[in-house]
């Protein structure tokens, strides 16, 4: 375990940034987001970023390949960004878990090399949540905000930052930072206890997820409650795009006038044109689209992934859904049905 007095936080950032690209959650435009560190940038006071840390590994859009067109000649063009090592600091436990979920999708066969490259390049420094919000329910998925994981886990206690490497990559990072000093983990234990005292009080943290498994798949799928739950869904992509685990994308071509840029961009299963096929769509109304999103997170994903849910309880969709419909309400309503 290493430590650093918080007043020197910016020195730490500067030291990290000197080695490789550093991203920290900072305030911009009235909200927190992961930004490339520049001198003097302040760590946000917000609990979490508006968009998740997923963006750094799976950006909203990225070019896949290009075609140059001249007259009737077409040539292929490599547009892949080779990438460079980077550190992301201040990832919360929920977002850290989201990488496990994304890994299962993108790193299983066939491997998504774009994601793979970024994961290999990125070192994740997590930060324990000292002040969780009422919308937090990571506990329901077995996540401990006091033990945030990542390559390096960090805690803030009083005027001190504590860092602990969990992986080799994390070890390498910490050992390259001479301004850190060694320490024991007693202070961290205190902070963890304080955090647990708060998580005990979190109203949604004990969300009951019994019955959300492959065995009850059809039961959930055919639950008549879906109609009511989805009736006021606008069909926007807010929940999807703020979600740290949503990983659907579309591949599109952009005609530049000189050629074509083939790129991928996030897609949302809430959209009416999601996975549109020649015959149209197989989810004709918002009810089916809505059901898909929550079934995927709560039933399909765990039944195919050793019981790991496709949700990390970060609470972003709870805060951001325009009509305040969210996975907690869905889980509670469906859960009543299976009891």
């Amino acid at each position: 375990m290493k430590q650093l007095t918080l007043s020197k936080l910016n020195e730490l950032f500067a030291a990290m940034a000197a080695q490789q690209q550093l991203y920290i959650p900072a305030d911009k435009g009235g909200q927190a987001q992961f930004l490339p560190y520049v001198d003097g940038m302040e760590l946000t006071k917000s609990l979490n970023t508006a968009r998740s840390a997923k963006d750094l590994f799976f950006p909203q859009t990225e070019d896949i390949v290009g075609f140059q067109v001249q007259g009737t000649e077409i040539t292929l063009e490599e547009t892949r960004d080779p990438g460079a090592p980077f550190v992301v600091f201040g990832v919360r436990a929920c977002d850290a878990r989201s990488f496990d979920i994304l890994d299962r999708v993108f790193l299983s066969d066939p491997v998504d090399t774009f994601y793979e490259t970024r994961r290999a390049n990125g070192t994740v420094v997590t930060l324990a949540c000292t002040r969780p919000e009422e919308t937090c329910f990571c506990g329901a998925f077995g996540i401990d905000p006091a033990n945030p994981g990542g390559d390096v886990a960090a805690w803030m206690a009083g005027e001190t930052l504590y860092l602990n490497a969990n992986t080799e990559k994390g070890e390498t990072l910490l050992s390259s930072l001479p301004l850190l000093s060694d320490c024991d983990d007693s202070a961290v234990g205190t902070v963890q206890a304080e955090i647990h005292a708060i998580t005990e009080k979190l109203p949604l943290n004990k969300l009951d997820l019994t019955g959300f498994d492959g065995d009850h798949l059809m039961e959930h799928f055919n639950n008549p409650a879906w109609s009511k739950l989805s009736e006021s869904c606008l069909g926007c992509g807010t929940c999807t795009f703020v979600c740290p685990t949503c990983q659907c994308y579309d591949v599109r071509d952009f005609d530049t006038g000189h050629g074509v840029r083939r790129f991928r961009c996030w897609d949302s299963c809430m959209y009416s044109d999601f996975t549109m096929m020649a015959h149209g769509t197989n989810r004709p109304t918002q009810k089916e689209r809505f059901r898909q999103r929550f079934m995927h997170k709560l039933v399909y994903f765990p039944s195919n992934n050793d019981g790991i849910y496709g949700c990390v309880g970060c609470g972003r969709c709870l805060a951001k859904c325009p009509i305040s419909m969210n996975i907690v309400k869905v889980a509670k309503t469906l859960g009543e049905g299976t009891k």
């Binding site: 007259g71 530049t256 000189h258 004709p284 109304t285």
Partner: protein
């Protein structure tokens, strides 16, 4: 992707001198989809057209791009060529590399580069062209003529002679127009009334002609072949079908102080009046501005004296609705108001008159019974000064920039007639130029000078000052470069002519375009001079531009023949480039309907397949392709893009934008 053929025209040297046509053909030949590209001296020639036709067949072309002159020039030509080769005519696009390239650029590389880009834009567009088929709409076999002057009468007579019913709408109580006020006509000096009044009677008696006198067109809706007009028959307070035209009422009416507009206010008429003896229809009209009965309810003399019982003080405006296939505008002209030409003392002295007033003073049916007398004192004038171009060819704001065309000739006529009838007069004509292009015109003018001794002086009159019963005329002689002072008894001003003030509102009603002087514009200044750009609207007489009587009659006949040609058809091919609503995307919000100038868009509730085999009822727009003229206002008003314009679709225009900007 279409198989596209590109044809680059040299237009002789018009294009080839500044654009490297071979290079253009070569560059465009490499564009995606282009399977054939060539160049030729004159694409519009028979040989050029044959070349296109053969290429379409040989290379199985699905689209054709012609890089040539403006599409306004030869688009139709090339469309027909394509059609002959079995290709849909709307699969042709023109890249304008003459007017918009070779003619404005001097440098060959620049012009060539631009020509290639314009060609690319046309290729990009033609890729998205779809074969279009023109729809058909029926033709109402009746014509409307607005204006009952010689232009309107002649047009109506010619149309009626071909067997089609025609209605004349004249705002005055009688047809005849300006020609009724004219004494003699140049250059033959025959009597205007003698040649006009038989035509008026002929029109009145023709079974195919209906005359709505003292009427105005209130509104016109519809489109070529299918106009619907509302005609307002203004209350004349006399039953037209009962009045015998005996004229007793016009003698007994106690209201005698009404300025007689037929004589341009040079004398008075009664409140009930027949404009002149040969009026058609010969029916009395009560002037509501002066009739004591209508104004105060006290009088009723005319009703008492009318043995036929034709007077009806309670008459109201009547509205007639009628369908027409074609509309002829023959709204004529007026001399301009001279209140901004005070240097000629028109408002100060009654002896300064306009030429039209002078016509009345010379006319046997005029206020002086044909004897030329000074309006101020009724004395015989000895010295007369004619001033030409009063308000014509005027670069200042107060006048008209154009030549009124008829003034030179009628002034020569007036001067000649004056000298002939009254050899004791001295007649001076001040002119800028004397313009006499016309059959026997110059001979006529020379006669005035040489045989009748009219003094023609090149120069402008600077000022006319009424003084001691004389008009002191100060002028300059530009040839001798001298100042001239003439003590005249009368000054006659050749006032410019301008379109009738009703013309603008009629143009708006008909959606016909006008120039800045309010003359109607023709569809093509040389090749379609009697048609308005708005289909089904034809132009007759001075409403299109200044002209004399024979030209007016010729144009009237030409307009009539165009109308006859139109009415002879049972169906019309519609413009296929019209808006079309995609019902699947339309949400029925009515935005498009609100901006459509033709009322071409209607809505209906329709059932559509919904999700999960349901049926949903939706309000959707549909466009009547016969009514739509293809402006595209609706396409922008429509937020969803459900409304698109065939031939100028959103994707086509964007493709052109892309091709130009890349």
């Amino acid at each position: 992707m279409q198989r596209i053929g590109v044809f680059v025209c040299w237009c002789g040297t018009n294009i080839a001198a500044t654009v490297d046509v071979k290079a253009v053909a070569e560059a465009l030949g490499k564009e995606p989809g282009v399977v054939f590209a060539t160049d030729y001296q004159y694409m519009c020639s028979q040989a050029g057209q044959d070349m296109i036709r053969d290429a379409i067949k040989e290379h199985n072309l699905g689209g054709v791009v012609i890089c040539s002159c403006s599409p306004r020039m030869h688009e139709t030509t090339f469309r027909k060529t394509a059609e002959k080769a079995g290709l849909n005519p709307y699969m042709v696009e023109i890249a304008n590399i003459r007017e918009q390239c070779s003619w404005i650029h001097k440098d060959m590389p620049t012009a060539t580069e631009k020509a290639v880009i314009l060609g690319r834009a046309a290729i990009a567009k033609v890729h998205l062209n779809a074969p279009l088929t023109a729809g058909e709409s029926p033709v109402t076999k009746r014509a409307l003529v607005i204006g009952g002057g010689i232009a309107g009468i002649q047009t109506a007579l010619d149309i009626a002679d071909a067997g089609f019913p025609v209605d004349i709408v004249e705002k005055k109580p009688t047809i005849g127009g300006k020609m009724t006020q004219i004494d003699k006509t140049f250059p033959t000096l025959d009597c205007a009334a003698c040649i006009l009044t038989p035509k008026m009677v002929e029109a009145a008696q023709n079974e195919n002609i209906r005359i709505f006198s003292y009427s105005e067109v209130d509104s016109v809706k519809g489109f070529v072949g299918n106009f619907h007009a509302t005609i307002r028959r203004k209350a004349r307070y006399v039953k037209e079908d009962v009045c015998t035209g005996c004229g007793l009422c016009t003698e007994k009416c106690p209201q005698k102080k009404v300025p007689n507009e037929f004589n341009l206010g040079l004398d008075n008429r009664r409140a009930i009046y027949i404009p002149f003896a040969q009026a058609v229809p010969k029916v009395a009209t009560i002037d509501p501005n002066y009739c004591t009965m209508l104004k105060s309810g006290k009088c009723g003399v005319c009703a008492k004296v009318c043995t036929a019982g034709a007077i009806d003080y309670k008459q109201k405006d009547e509205f007639i609705e009628e369908d027409y296939g074609a509309i002829v505008v023959a709204t004529g002209f007026n001399p301009i108001k001279l209140d901004r030409y005070d240097e000629y003392a028109y408002s100060q002295s009654p002896d300064v008159v306009t030429s039209l007033e002078f016509e009345r003073l010379m006319n046997a049916a005029g206020p002086t019974a044909g004897t030329l007398l000074r309006p101020s004192d009724g004395e015989h004038p000895h010295t007369l000064v004619f001033v030409q171009c009063v308000g014509s060819r005027e670069t200042r704001d107060c006048g008209k920039p154009y030549c009124s065309k008829i003034c030179c000739m009628y002034t020569a006529k007036h001067a000649m007639l004056c000298r002939e009838k009254y050899p004791d007069t001295e007649v001076y004509v001040f002119y800028i130029d004397v313009r006499t292009p016309g059959k026997n015109f110059d001979e006529f003018y020379r006669r005035a000078v040489e045989e009748y001794g009219v003094h023609y002086i090149k120069g402008m009159v600077g000022k006319v000052v009424p003084e001691n019963g004389k008009l002191k005329v100060q002028a300059s002689d530009l040839l001798s470069n001298e100042q001239i002072h003439i003590d005249a008894d009368m000054v006659i001003l050749a006032a410019a002519i301008e379109p009738d003030e009703s013309a603008r509102s009629i143009a708006t009603m008909l959606t016909a375009s006008m120039d800045t002087n309010d003359f109607f514009t023709e569809a093509h200044p040389k090749l379609r001079p009697v048609e308005s750009p708005t289909a089904g609207i034809f132009l007759s007489g001075v409403c299109q531009g200044p002209k004399d009587i024979p030209e007016t009659v010729a144009q009237a006949g030409a307009a009539a023949s165009k109308v006859i040609g139109l009415l002879a058809k049972d169906h019309l091919m519609c413009n296929p480039c019209v808006a079309e609503a995609n019902e699947l995307m339309c949400n029925g919000c009515s935005s498009c309907e609100k901006v459509c100038p033709y009322g071409a868009i209607t809505y209906s509730d329709k059932e559509f397949p919904g999700p999960n085999r349901t049926r949903v009822l939706r309000r959707v727009a549909s466009v009547n392709p016969a009514v739509c003229q293809g402006c595209g206002a609706c396409t922008v008003a429509c937020p969803s893009g459900a409304m698109d314009l065939k031939g100028f679709s959103t994707s086509q225009i964007m493709a052109e934008v892309d091709a130009i900007c890349k």
